[in-house]
Every structure is written in C-alpha cells, then in structure tokens.
Symmetry: C2
DNA sequence: CTTATTGCAAACCATTTGCATCCGG
DNA sequence: CCGGATGCAAATGGTTTGCAATAAG
C-alpha cells in the first residue's frame, strides 16, 4: 500500500510532487477535496507546485485507483484517497460540509435490479443532501439556499 | 401541469422557444439529454434556436422544477422532464445507454442515517453503472472501456 | 407600449496541450 | 544519460455575459 511501489510497479516515477499530493489526500481522508483545494494544500508543502501537475497527478491517481473521484452536487470535481473502505457522502446544503456514511444498500439494490432487468451492475454512486446538525441548530435548516 | 400556466403564474413569458424545448423534453421522457442534445433536437423543430437560449431555458425549467438535472458519469450536465415520478438510472459503461430504475431505497437509507447521525436528509441522487443486456450479449461486458 | 426574451459575439474560466527544461532511475 | 515529469504559457471548449433587436402581454 505504499505509493512508491504502486507507481514503480506500473512504470511511473516517484516524484516529490506526487508524494506531496498523496500526503495531502491522506491527511484529508474522508474529506473530498477539489482540485484547487489540493493545489493550495500541496503548495503549502511545496511552493511552486503547478496546478497542471495537480490535474495530471489526479488523473494518474485515479487510473491507479490511488484516489477516487467524488460526485457531489455542483460542477467541480472532488477527489479523496482510496483506502478501500467503500462509503457515501451526506452534503449539507447550507454550509457544504460533508459527512461520511458508511452504510450502503447496494446489495439490496442489486437484488431489485436482478429481478427487474438483465442489466449487470458493476458500480454505483450515491450522495445524500440535507442539513447538518450544526446548521439545523442555527436555524439554517430550511429557507437558506 | 401545462407549461404556459407554470410560466405565467411566475411572471415568465410563454415563447415558442420555451415551448419547443419543453416538447423536446416531453418526447424524450426517461432519456436524459445533454444540453447539446436538447439544442439539436430543438433546432430540428425551430431552426436558428440559439444555444444560449437552451442554457437559459434549462436554468429556468430547473428553477420551476419543470426539468430535473441528472447526474451521470462524466462531465456534462443532463436534463430530463420532471413528471413527478421519482426514479434513478442505470448507465451502460459500454454503449452509454440509460435504463430507468423505478425502485428507490431512500427510506431505508434515511432510517439508517437517522440512527447514526443528526443529519436531516432532504434529497439524494444515485446512479448505477454496469452493462446493458445488449452489450453483455455482444461480449462487450468487461474488457471494453 | 413596456420590458422580458432572444441570438449573436465577446468574455470567462476551468481544463488541456505544446514545449523546453528538469530530474528520477 | 534517457525518457518521463514538471511548469509555464498558449490553446481549447463549454458556459456565461453584454447588448441591440425582437416579440409577448
């Protein structure tokens, strides 16, 4: 599970940029990061690291399944480190906070699909939207946009 | 449930462009369309209809909940008409075909969330990925990208 | 008539590409 | 050394904005 091995075994090189970006993902396990987030955080550790490198490194990490793309509401792409623990996300519509949800009903869903169609399911994505406890408490539960 | 009423009651005007775009969505119920899809189809009915108008009209339709944004794999935004029938999608990774899935386990998921967190769930999205019966038959079930 | 709507062209901006330089192995 | 990786600058392409002309009510 060490980055160097994973890179070398596929013929890729181990560079400080890749290590820094990996570290950023590791240190934010459970918190999906946008490419800009990753860039800023990586720049703190290695000033001058180019945004282009972040884009290219995340394409690579996704290919190697070192990182997983996360689909949240909105346009921008988020990533998080792949620790092999499947989970979903709950996104607060008020503050944008993301909470993890370890439960997953994919097996039940696959059963339903199997009974109703010949589709072969190989993957899925799911996100929940709502309001986090903090925002509910502060009365930002509904009206807010 | 007529478009004219829905528009006028909110102070918007009924234009041929909006009617054409609405008709395109109606005629493709169950098939998520990209903005370009909508534009091409709308242009068949009304040549010269601008792409900008498609963007603006879908923002409006989304606001009025006449259309719903659909999150599939990939980058582009898809839309489908909102007929009030909640459902999800199964996307074929080989041919891109989209099949509807009327089943939804949101209530079960909400139960799980309620037991494990104080998050208040108000919405969700889910998509399944895999291979459609046709592609499986043609042996495009796995290896293909 | 009044003003929302449209369509065009220009502006925007996130992402990608080309390329000279750099550096991992 | 050699070829992959990086960072910059330029190109790209989808989406948005400004604005004059058009048309809904």
């Amino acid at each position: 599970m060490d980055l160097g091995k994973r890179l070398r075994s596929r013929g890729y090189r181990v560079t400080p940029q890749r290590e820094v970006i990996y570290r950023v993902l590791q240190e934010n396990e459970g918190k999906p990061l946008s490419l800009d987030d990753i860039h800023s955080l990586a720049c703190e550790k290695r000033p001058g690291l180019g945004l282009t490198t972040v884009y290219r490194t995340l394409d690579l990490f996704r290919e190697l399944e070192v990182a997983l793309p996360v689909h949240l509401h909105g346009d921008s792409q988020y990533y998080e480190i792949n620790e092999g623990k499947h989970h979903h996300h709950m996104v607060c519509l008020s503050c944008g906070d993301v909470e993890l949800l370890e439960a997953c009903l994919i097996e039940e869903i696959e059963d339903i699909v199997r009974d109703g169609s010949d589709f072969m399911i190989t993957g899925h994505c799911m996100s929940l939207f709502g309001y986090c406890p903090d925002c509910l408490e502060r009365g930002r539960g509904k009206g807010s946009r």
